[in-house]
């Protein structure tokens, strides 16, 4: 690349410095953290809820639990959590993602933001009771790490829990330990296959198309099996995880939940 800087005169540099200062100033305005939502009354929240249900729930879920789009119950947003950032992202959409924009007037978008803020209170803002350090030891000793990865360590046949504290409210974490079948991530449904020659396979269903099923098999790893060879093929929408109901003391359960909650995604500096 031709280096333009070689030909820059001192005057140009002065102009550039002014430009940088001006750009920083305007950028600060754009990111104005002091911009506050002017529409936060109960009526605003109700109006926002109506729009949310018709225009946002398809991707973010009726209660903000997420789906095609990210979970909104945590109060932390990947592309900025300030009112200013939310106004921009809901108004214009987010480039490079499926998040569209161009729906409503600014007043109505503020109402949606007011409603979305109410969803966040259901999240995991408050640390749960229990000792996270003890919970971490339980996680290692009671078999959890055999299937779950936490920040580079553990198995891969269950969901990656590296930032689960940012992704699930406390009650859900507790429930997932006691009733694994209550909320099964479809990404971990199990494929139960028997080939025409009698060979059985059971593993995490990764993909299916017209001709093949792909799975993560506990012993054989990644497999692609042709459907034409199947005698039996059932998708088990239940969890492969055993329930820990009755296997943990209440104090141990609280420690484990505290550990999982402590696995927070680092917050962005805004």
């Amino acid at each position: 690349m031709y280096d333009v800087a070689c030909e820059t005169s001192q005057k140009d540099i002065r102009v550039s410095i002014y430009t940088v200062v001006w750009l920083l100033a305007t950028s600060a305005l754009a990111q104005n953290a002091s911009l506050r939502n002017p529409h936060t009354t109960t009526a605003d929240v109700a109006a926002g809820a109506r729009i949310y249900r018709s225009h946002c729930a398809d991707c973010h879920g009726m209660t903000g639990q997420g789906g095609k789009g990210p979970d909104l119950t945590t109060g932390v947003f990947f592309h900025g959590s300030s009112d200013a950032a939310l106004l921009k992202n809901v108004s214009d959409g987010i480039e490079g993602t499926a998040m569209p924009g161009q729906f409503f007037s600014a007043d109505q978008i503020w109402q949606v933001i007011a409603y979305v803020r109410t969803l966040a209170t259901k999240g995991s803002a408050k640390p749960p009771e229990g000792n996270a350090t003890r919970g971490g030891m339980l996680f290692a000793s009671r078999g959890c790490a055999n299937c779950h990865l936490v920040r580079g360590t553990g198995g891969v046949s269950g969901p990656d829990l590296s930032y689960i504290g940012s992704q699930r409210p406390t009650e859900q974490l507790r429930r997932a330990i006691l009733e694994p079948n209550a909320l099964v991530d479809p990404a971990y449904w199990q494929a139960d296959i028997v080939l025409e020659n009698g060979t059985p396979y059971r593993g995490v269903l990764l993909n299916e198309d017209t001709y093949y099923v792909q799975l993560l098999h506990p012993a054989n790893g990644l497999l692609t099996l042709p459907k034409r060879d199947f005698r039996r093929y059932v998708v088990q929408k239940t969890s492969a995880m055993p329930s820990y109901q009755g296997k943990l003391q209440e104090a141990e359960l609280q420690d484990l939940v505290a550990y999982l909650w402590s696995l927070q995604r680092p917050r962005r500096v805004e």
Partner: protein
């Protein structure tokens, strides 16, 4: 010297793709000169080198990779060894059809903000004489020189900032270039335009939403017509004998909340037939009066001179997004047949005049209403095909239900004006797709080829009795993975003869041509144009 000049002139005249040649596309099956391969909308080729016996020997002959990330929806055209195709968002490339090497590229500079509902896409160009035409996402129609890509003229068709865009391939009719518009999710007032292909001057405009006092305006109330939708974003057909342009019109705006637009909302969701010289309406048939499900009638009309109940008749075959296959009289628009080709739960039959009888409780609601088909329909804009050899009508069909929500809709220029965001892919019931062959005399299914996912591409049939189609829908369960097989089926019975995994989104239509004695089969996938031939 003079004789040499005359010879050169004669050669130039021969080499030019004239409007007369477009009328006789059957005489030059080595070319693919319009979006659907002919004015009849058949997407059928008379080439037969690739046939049921040889098709399993197809190999990749070349690949042209576009330096873009947007979805490719183009159907390339081929004229005497040169391929002309659009690249998203609004670029044009000319390639050597034998090697895939580019001759030139037209790159359009676009404003930062483009108002398109569903991607900055383009479905193709039109070619005639020494000109190539493209509609752009900033709502211009541009004529380029076919040998260099130089801009000959560039006319604004509509105000892009108000949500108009051009995404469909234009159609050459006589000395005019016909173009539709997109923007049904932005509250546009739709139209179909004809431009002088030499000068770019507009010859006529047919508004798909009539203004007060015009015929059809009684199906609107208040000012709703001003933002009533009715886009025309898929290339229609032309009947030279009757001098009729037959085109599909899309959804009324706002899509999923019809409260602001009581009435039938003509000519949304309709087939329209216009006099090619004047743009005056000759007939129309509305598939869905007062649509609240976004079931556009933007499909390719298939024109067949066939038999209807024992008598010869000029017909239109039409597989509509709402899940029905229709047969219409091409002279009058009379409804002759409406037969479901996929699961549907909205229609309880038709009146004698062909008006659909709506089932109760099918409208979108705040809490959501489940209905078959889903928002993307039982078919969509991708092309069907008709083979005169088998006498069958082929289409890509979806078996899917959707959850239709109803919310607020306020018209703000340049903003979406839709009324909700319905749930398209239900996690527990993602739906599936199929290639289906129908007997157009009855609408009955003759065969089907099932797919695990819902495909986004159309079909091509050839005189080799082969049908080309593809998967390419999103895999279920939010896996964000696609299946992307391009395949060949026996057009008589649907048996799979060949397939290849192309590994990228296929949201386009296959086409075929011949160069240097070799039949080429073309399918866009991912960012590439894949051309296949026999070794």
């Amino acid at each position: 010297m003079r004789s040499l000049l005359l010879l050169l002139l004669a050669f130039t005249a021969w080499a030019q793709l004239t409007p007369e040649r477009l009328l006789k596309s059957d005489a030059e099956p080595h070319n693919w000169t319009t979006y659907s391969g002919s004015y009849r909308g058949w997407r059928h080729s008379l080439l037969d080198q690739v046939n049921r016996t040889t098709v399993d020997k197809l190999k990749v002959a070349w690949v042209y990779q576009m330096p873009v990330t947007e979805r490719i929806e183009t159907t390339p055209l081929v004229v005497d060894g040169v391929m002309y195709l659009s690249e998203p968002p609004s670029n044009v490339v000319a390639l050597d059809a034998a090697t895939g090497r580019p001759y030139w590229r037209y790159r359009r500079s676009l404003p930062e903000k483009i108002n398109v509902c569903c991607g900055q896409v383009n479905r193709g160009v039109a070619v005639v004489g020494d000109r190539v035409f493209i509609g752009t996402v900033d709502a211009h129609l541009v004529a380029l020189h076919a040998k260099t890509g130089a801009v000959l003229w560039d006319v604004p068709v509509a105000e892009a900032k108000n949500g108009y865009s051009l995404t469909g391939a234009p159609l050459i009719v006589k000395d005019m270039v016909i173009t539709g518009v997109a923007g049904g999710e932005y509250g546009i007032r739709g139209f179909l335009d004809a431009y002088d292909l030499k000068t770019g001057q507009r010859r006529w405009r047919f508004w798909t939403i009539p203004e007060p006092g015009q015929p059809g305006s009684q199906t609107w109330s208040g000012d709703a017509w001003k933002h009533g939708g009715g886009p025309t974003w898929v290339t229609g057909a032309y009947d030279p004998e009757q001098n009729l342009i037959i085109w599909g019109v899309g959804n009324p705006s706002p899509d999923w909340n019809g409260d602001v637009r009581p009435g039938d909302n003509l000519y949304s969701d309709s087939a329209i037939a216009l006099d090619a010289d004047t743009g005056k309406l000759k007939w129309h048939y509305q598939f869905v009066p007062h649509d609240v499900h976004d079931w556009d009638a933007v499909q390719v009309p298939v024109l067949v001179d066939g038999e209807w109940q024992g008598k010869p008749r000029k017909l239109v075959y039409w597989a509509h997004r709402g899940g029905f296959f229709y047969v219409l009289d091409r002279t009058t628009g009379e409804f002759l047949l409406g037969k479901a080709f996929a699961t549907q739960t909205w229609n309880a039959g038709f009146t004698a005049q062909g008006r659909p009888i709506r089932k109760p409780n099918i409208d979108p609601s705040p809490e959501g209403t489940y209905l078959w088909p889903g928002v993307q329909g039982a078919t969509n804009w991708y092309s069907p095909s008709y083979s005169p050899q088998t006498g069958l009508f082929y289409l890509t069909a979806w078996e899917n239900k959707g959850l239709y929500r109803k919310g607020d809709a306020e018209y703000i220029p340049g903003n979406r004006f839709i009324g909700s965001v319905p749930e398209i892919d239900l996690p527990e019931e993602p739906g599936w797709g199929a290639i289906r062959a129908l007997n157009p005399k009855t609408g009955e299914r003759v065969w089907e080829h099932k797919m695990h996912t819902k495909p986004w591409s159309g079909v091509l049939t050839t005189a080799g009795k082969v049908l080309f189609g593809s998967t390419g829908g999103w895999i279920s369960r939010e896996k964000i993975a696609m299946e992307s097989y391009f395949f060949a089926l026996d057009a008589e019975n649907g048996k799979e003869l060949w397939r290849i995994n192309l590994g990228g989104t296929m949201a386009s239509n296959p086409m075929t041509y011949s160069v240097n004695g070799k039949q080429m089969i073309v399918m866009p996938a991912g960012s590439g144009i894949f051309a296949f031939s026999l070794p």
